[in-house]
Symmetry: C2
Subunit: 208 residues, 2 copies
DNA sequence: GTCTATACGCAGATAGAC
DNA sequence: GTCTATCTGCGTATAGAC
């Protein structure tokens, strides 16, 4: 009984903190606002998590992991490169569509000396080398153009993440602040970005 | 004499505020830190700029304009599309290399309801429609692949801006936190991104 | 576990001397 | 114009009742 209550409250706090931290960032967030959002008292926040810092770390660690989904799994399957990239891009944009504020949040915090993300990153066992090796293998086989595999990876991540991170600006620039149009545009980008990337790197015939 | 002094101090304040705001953001910056950085007293900040908010607006407005350099000029010259894009990408990455923290700063602030950037943006008379029209014209002529010109623009901006905005993370992911290597990598990207974009959209022979 | 009340420090802003 | 000293409010954190 008391156990259940505890879990519910902790859950509510985490949910509220997530909402507020994502919107305002560590520096801009207020414990009072989190408490209001959770429908509880400010003191309870300190009862469950000792400090604002601790609460933030719990949220950040959790959210950070979402920014790198199962890249490895997708990138090292036995599918042909076209399919691998297509699936990755589509899945990734889908994830971001469901968490549109995530990129801006992560960027904001990693650019404020939050340094423990290095630790989190390593604990994820992402190992980019496997992905680079995969691209290099495709180059050996003559399937894709020769280039630094890091550029391929970074270009893909850029085109997926940046439009979300810069949404307020791009929405204004590209669609005169029409939010609906921007959302629709992001949906279409799943195909558009895939095509763009494949055009850029595939050596076989361009299948437009 | 007093005029000169005034100008010097105001200059020093603006320089210091720029440094601190870029690093810490509006929420994280402290007036005391700006005063220290400028080598003056905290009260002087309020003498020259009435409030932290006013000071921030001065800095933000100024920096925001740097994020959109002379796009129009480059994009509407009479040069062939290959040259236009090459020059834009190279110039832009150069600008960002000299102001590496700018993208992260702008992204952070536009994602915090700083809404006056809309006003600034319009005052810049950027008019993206001219650029879109240029791309559509190239499509008509059969020079580049048919696609939403907004995607082209956004993809280019993404690949230029994101690597700077996400530097702490990408440096870790791609180069195991070797700062030198990342800087070198960004230099090489001027050519790499150009090639990538041209491969993606040019219909003529791929000149690798 | 949850609340109210309060301590305490910090940061933005002002007063006033020089 | 520039400084020191000070006010004021806010935000984190704690004490203590229930």
């Amino acid at each position: 009984m008391s156990k259940i209550k505890k879990d519910n409250t902790e859950e509510k706090i985490l949910e509220a903190a997530k909402t507020v931290f994502i919107k305002k960032g560590m520096d801009g967030a207020r414990m009072q606002e989190i408490a209001n959002e959770a429908g509880i008292n400010k003191a309870l926040l300190h009862y469950y998590f000792r400090s604002k810092q601790k609460l933030f770390e719990a949220i950040f660690t959790n959210l950070f992991k979402q920014i790198f989904p199962n890249i490895i799994k997708l990138m090292t399957s036995e599918e042909p490169i076209e399919k691998k990239l297509k699936e990755f891009i589509e899945n990734y944009i889908d994830i971001l569509t469901n968490n549109p504020r995530l990129p801006a949040f992560i960027l904001r915090e990693i650019n404020r000396g939050v340094d423990f993300f290095g630790q989190i990153f390593r604990s994820q066992s992402i190992n980019p080398n496997i992905i680079f090796a995969m691209f290099e293998n495709e180059m050996e086989k003559g399937n894709i153009v020769r280039m630094n595999p890091r550029d391929i990876m970074l270009n893909i991540l850029s085109m997926c993440l940046f439009p979300f991170a810069a949404k307020p600006l791009m929405q204004l620039m590209l669609f005169e602040n029409d939010s609906e149009a921007y959302t629709q545009f992001m949906e279409e980008r799943k195909a558009s970005v895939t095509k763009f990337v494949l055009n850029a790197i595939l050596l076989k015939d361009k299948h437009l």
